[in-house]
């Protein structure tokens, strides 16, 4: 030891003595992880063993053989053809389609309502701001299931019977059996109207792209909104009139004890859609409010200073920046809505959970396969929605230098 003090030779410093193996972080981490893996394997093995024993005792088959067997039950509302001779596999798809239908429509309605209420909360009109606040505070502090029960059992199931139906404008009527709407019946030549509609949309997109390029190059603006509206609505409208209105409506009519014809919307579906949209809208409203309030004051002032009108300030300055704050939490609300649609099971709407995790599981008893598939479906929906929203988020994100 004294030698090292006396000779300050520039040689390499001796590495510190290796600590005891037990005190080395890498070794400890390896041990912890190996222990965790062993514990997990033992746990899973024990569960798998118990499941196998229990299933054998209850004489329940395993595997996915049930997929092609006849289900033998009916589903009250389906998007694909389904009857009691269809297979369990088909029941799976029928339920999934129903879930996607209610979740998709729910997302659209909740977004519209949520944005309206969120903007209303920031309104300079005191009364409107308070009304929007009351809406948010009441709806988001009540359990969704309670709201669904309220809509279904207390409102829709208390409507008058078919004979005393409430008539709505446009030939629709509402009664305890559901909402009856006139069904559009396309006649020959209606395809041309649809084609005109499609052409209108495509040309609008092309014009928008061209106009943006021109504006970047020359600074001239082109009235994209008005031309798009004209192309999308007036063009098919004109074709529709030229071809002699090739679209009839089949009106629902009271025959016997119920309405026949037209489009029928079941009360279960209505209750679920209304409940999900109004509940989720209260959360979206808060997100929108926070997003708009999160845009710095200076942005609005700067926009006013360069002479933008209020509408343009909103559209070109505030909303694009607010969207960056809004999109991530909005994604999780969409996912919540999709997951919450599983509450359909409580009011009897045949969604995926109700049909597959409920009825199919009860009939086949194959809990493991059914629950695994259920989780897989919801994980897929979650991942797909997140992926889309992440793409959208990246698309609108601030491009930093």
């Amino acid at each position: 030891m004294t030698a090292t003090v006396q000779s300050p030779s520039p040689g390499p410093i001796a590495p510190p003595a290796k600590p005891n193996l037990l005190y080395r972080p890498e070794f400890r981490q390896a041990v912890y992880q190996i222990l965790l893996v062993i514990a997990l394997i033992i746990g899973f093995w024990a569960i798998a063993h118990n499941v196998a024993v229990n299933l054998a005792r209850q004489n329940i088959a395993s595997g996915f053989g049930f997929w092609t067997r006849t289900a033998g039950f009916d589903i009250s509302q389906t998007l694909i053809e389904f009857d009691n001779q269809s297979t369990y596999g088909k029941a799976f798809w029928a339920g999934l389609m129903n879930t996607l239908l209610v979740a998709g429509l729910g997302i659209i309605f909740a977004t519209i309502l949520g944005f309206l209420v969120g903007i209303g909360r920031l309104s300079s009109n005191w009364l409107i701001a308070k009304l929007a606040t009351a809406y948010v505070e009441i709806l988001r502090n009540l359990p969704l299931l309670l709201q669904l029960f309220f809509w279904y059992f207390a409102v829709l199931k208390n409507l008058p019977g078919p004979r005393e139906s409430i008539s709505l404008p446009g030939g629709a009527s509402l009664n305890v059996r559901g909402l009856y709407l006139p069904a559009p019946v396309p006649e020959s030549g209606f395809g041309y109207v649809l084609a005109a509609f499609g052409i209108g949309i495509l040309t609008s997109i092309a014009i928008a792209m061209w106009s943006k390029r021109r504006q970047l190059a020359t600074g001239q603006r082109f009235p994209v909104l008005w031309t798009s509206l004209a192309l999308i609505f007036l063009l098919p409208g004109a074709v529709y009139l030229v071809l002699g209105q090739p679209l009839g409506f089949e009106y629902p009519a009271l025959r016997g004890f119920n309405f026949q014809g037209g489009m029928a919307v079941q009360p279960e579906f209505m209750a679920l859609l209304v409940g999900l949209s109004t509940y989720t809208a209260s959360f979206i409203a808060e997100i929108v409010r926070a997003g708009i309030a999160g845009v710095p004051r200076g942005q609005r002032e700067a926009a006013n200073a360069i002479g933008l009108s209020n509408g343009l300030t909103m559209r070109l300055v505030i909303i694009p920046q607010a969207l960056r704050i809004i999109i991530p939490p909005l994604t999780s609300q969409y996912l919540n809505l999709a997951k919450n649609s599983s509450l359909a099971v409580a009011i009897g709407y045949p969604d995926f959970v109700s049909v597959f995790t409920g009825t199919v599981l009860n009939q086949t008893g194959q809990a493991v396969e059914v629950i695994l598939l259920t989780m897989l479906v919801f994980l897929t929906i979650s991942l797909l929605t997140s992926a889309f929203m992440n793409w959208f988020n990246k698309h609108i994100a601030l491009v930093e230098r």
């Binding site: 912890y32 997990l40 024993v53 009364l127 409107i128 099971v345 409580a346 919801f378």
Partner: protein, 369 residues
């Protein structure tokens, strides 16, 4: 040029101050605004008259069965709530034993109120009371079977009691698991991290209903032959695991907000990992995310109503069950029950969200130096 006499100050125009000024500025500043105000007033008028008409003017206050509420255009059926009130609160908990539930509530309030009031001293003792003494006392009081208290099986529990038990046991059980998961997600050990991330994302990706279905159909399959778990306990385990995943994400947010220097300072002091986390990082991180934790709890409190799908009757479940009581059948019974249950749920959730806001503001005040 100076003037020595004060010029008389002019009063602001009358239309700009006072009630009229306020009205002009906030309600009638433009044509659209005036139109919106009128629409708003119309909505408020409609809602208030409908609510008063239903709850008071055309409501039924006396009666002993549904027939009393079955007239044309009848409003609320309050005798239904009166008759079923104790069921809504305690379920089928035996009547002579209900003081035990009440005593549990008193013990809970005695611990919670000082804990939630920041100015009351003795938080350490108070926390110990809430996490050690209270759960044990509550267990023996509610379940019984010892100290001369008769045993009350959980099948008899119901109503608000079950709602509160599921929510509070769920969050209490979720807390330690959530902290472990959050720490695991930020761990340097890859396998620990993967397991935590896998669990959190799997659970957050599926709805609570499937988790509860799992509790009722799969959990029994997981156990060795002959072993059964109480239905309520099964739901409690699943609810705790479910909320642990959400809580883990909230706590992770708090962990991320702690400056690196805190971790490094703890390392420099030679603290071990548990000491570093338990003494330095977690106390700060958890304090930061109290609002998030309260919000998770509100979500859980609302979600407890889903247990009715697997046949456990919480407040909403017992209200729903009583709708089918033939004696009380009337067109307005359902609405009355839901309004009552909604009122109770709303009071709880709203006051909790106000509390979370209060803590949030208090924390923000601390940061604003």
């Amino acid at each position: 040029m100076t003037s020595t006499t004060a010029t008389s100050t002019m009063r602001p125009p009358r239309s700009e101050v006072g009630l009229i000024g306020w009205l002009r500025k906030n309600l009638f500043s433009s044509v659209t605004n005036t139109l919106l105000t009128i629409i708003g007033l119309w909505i408020i008028w409609k809602v208030i008259t409908a609510a008063i008409g239903w709850a008071i003017l055309s409501a039924t206050f006396e009666g002993s069965d549904g027939a009393a509420c079955s007239r044309e255009h009848a409003g609320a059926c309050w005798p239904f709530i009166q008759a079923k009130f104790s069921q809504f609160m305690y379920g089928r908990y035996p009547e002579p034993q209900r003081w035990r539930v009440d005593l549990t509530y008193v013990l809970a309030i005695a611990g919670l109120v000082p804990l939630m009031t920041p100015s009351v001293p003795g938080k350490l003792f108070n926390t110990l009371y809430m996490i050690v003494f209270f759960p044990i006392a509550a267990f023996f009081l509610l379940v019984g079977g010892y100290f001369g208290l008769p045993y009350v099986p959980t099948e008899l529990w119901g109503g608000l009691l079950v709602t509160l038990v599921v929510a509070s046991v769920g969050i209490a059980g979720a807390f330690p698991i959530g902290i472990l998961l959050a720490l695991g997600r930020r761990s340097k050990m890859p396998i620990v991290r993967w397991v935590s991330v896998g669990f959190i994302e799997l659970v957050r990706g599926v709805p609570l209903i499937t988790v509860l279905f799992m509790a009722s159909v799969m959990l029994p399959l997981f156990l060795p032959e002959g072993v059964t778990i109480d239905k309520l306990l099964r739901a409690l385990i699943m609810v705790a695991l479910f909320s642990a995943a959400y809580l883990a994400e909230v706590i992770r947010g708090g962990l991320q907000a702690i400056p690196r220097g805190q971790f490094e300072a703890a390392d420099a002091l030679g603290l071990s990992y548990p000491q570093k986390m338990g003494l330095i990082v977690l106390p700060q991180a958890l304090k930061l995310v109290i609002p998030g934790i309260v919000n998770t709890f509100i979500g859980l409190f609302k979600d407890t109503s889903l247990v009715l799908i697997i046949g456990i009757f919480d407040l909403l479940g017992i209200v729903q069950l009583n709708q089918t009581d033939a004696k009380w059948f009337s067109p307005s019974t359902g609405m009355t029950g839901y309004v009552f249950a909604g009122f109770v749920f709303w009071i709880f959730c709203f006051s909790m969200s106000r509390y979370s806001l209060f803590i949030e503001r208090r924390l923000a005040r601390g940061d604003r130096r």
